[in-house]
Symmetry: none
Subunit: 149 residues, 4 copies
Amino acid sequence: METEHMQAIALADNISSHTAEAMLLAAESKAIELNVKMNIAIVDIGGNLKAFRRMDGAWLGSIDIACRKARTARLFDMPTGAIGELSQPGGSLFNIEHSNGGLISFPGGLPVVNDHGTVVGAIGVSGSTVEDDRVVAEAAVQAVTEACV
Amino acid sequence: METEHMQAIALADNISSHTAEAMLLAAESKAIELNVKMNIAIVDIGGNLKAFRRMDGAWLGSIDIACRKARTARLFDMPTGAIGELSQPGGSLFNIEHSNGGLISFPGGLPVVNDHGTVVGAIGVSGSTVEDDRVVAEAAVQAVTEACV
Amino acid sequence: METEHMQAIALADNISSHTAEAMLLAAESKAIELNVKMNIAIVDIGGNLKAFRRMDGAWLGSIDIACRKARTARLFDMPTGAIGELSQPGGSLFNIEHSNGGLISFPGGLPVVNDHGTVVGAIGVSGSTVEDDRVVAEAAVQAVTEACV
Amino acid sequence: METEHMQAIALADNISSHTAEAMLLAAESKAIELNVKMNIAIVDIGGNLKAFRRMDGAWLGSIDIACRKARTARLFDMPTGAIGELSQPGGSLFNIEHSNGGLISFPGGLPVVNDHGTVVGAIGVSGSTVEDDRVVAEAAVQAVTEACV
């Protein structure tokens, strides 16, 4: 059954090609539903690129942003938007974006956590409003980490 | 029919998500046949990343090499190995690898040419010997550019 | 006696491996006490990396930040947080983070000063709140620069 | 017993702080035996820096080389010297050093393989002849991967 299968994915200790493909498909489905064109990047437990897809017509500038969002989310094991809240002028992490060769700190990057609570990778989505980007990333994460009772 | 469908792909004026996906699948099938683990990158007519896949267990260092092979092949509209023959010590393009943020000039990168003879993108494959890399890249290009009468 | 030994360390004109090791241990002890997981970097009088340790489970993105905090603190011989106060929008050092290949200007980096008042190196700590980062860095500096009568 | 302990280290699925520390100590002991001064870098399964130590008086230029050797060995799961044999003028991987932000392809970098045959990290050593560098790296790898019956 689909539900059990997806739960099995979540138990792995890294993001497999199988999981990455499921995430790309879920993200793309949500993007089509929202009528937006996205760049979608998946990184593994080490923050290294595992899979990438650019939908036809999606912004070229979002290739790099999607990859950096995914990497940023894994580097700090949190949604990219959470970092952005702390990196504003006067905030405790002001200008953290200068580290690690350039971070992206607005929404659209999310860590992927397995059933043991370990971060095993992340996804980055870019191509529309940051709200749309975030929604699409969430759809991908949910597809591989939640049992749909 | 599959043959006609693939020919239709080849007529396009850029690499679509559809074409890129067909190339990833063909490359992966050939890699499985050869029992090797590959990183596969596809760039579009502008040399920008369109799709990427890293097979489970493939070298991490080949992420970057696959992407650079694809980009190099599109930047000069020729197989990466052809550049490497000219970039040896004493050769006419000695150290061209320093340009464009870093080229890769050994085999595994191939341009994708449509039915009108226009280069519309490229593929880069890395993860085994350069000979295996080249064979896998060729399988992907053939899948979308040749009618198999 | 421990006290005299530590004072001896402080008299040196550069950060030795011995001193660096003592700093790593003191930082790690404080991190364990605070129940946080840190990246800890030590640079010498030339601002060059002398020692580094990433505690198990610490953020991957803090590798680079810890190293940059240490380097920033030595480059300007002051706590990184002091630079951050001056680099805010409208401040006298606005966007100084763009210099030197990328600075980090929030707390967690501290210079190490010997008994003659000379800066001989610095430490950078990253992995938790900037307040925790600062406290852990201070524990390491105190371990090698203060006689605990 | 020490033997069993070391074997246990080898079974882990990533390089822990404990393992990294044991490697640094074994490398440093061998370096002292050879009367050389080394930079020693350890990266984890994702190729990210886990631990670093520069012996007093070791070359500053070897900080970067040790780090790149460790990273290179993990990126391609082989000794750095093996890459160098293939990257000579006329070789199949000529100028591969331009990839991944800069590789080091002479001896001194070695992958760390656990009991299941999985590469879980790597070490890079730099500070003397490449032969000395290699010998010191080997001592560190042996310390954590071989049972000393």
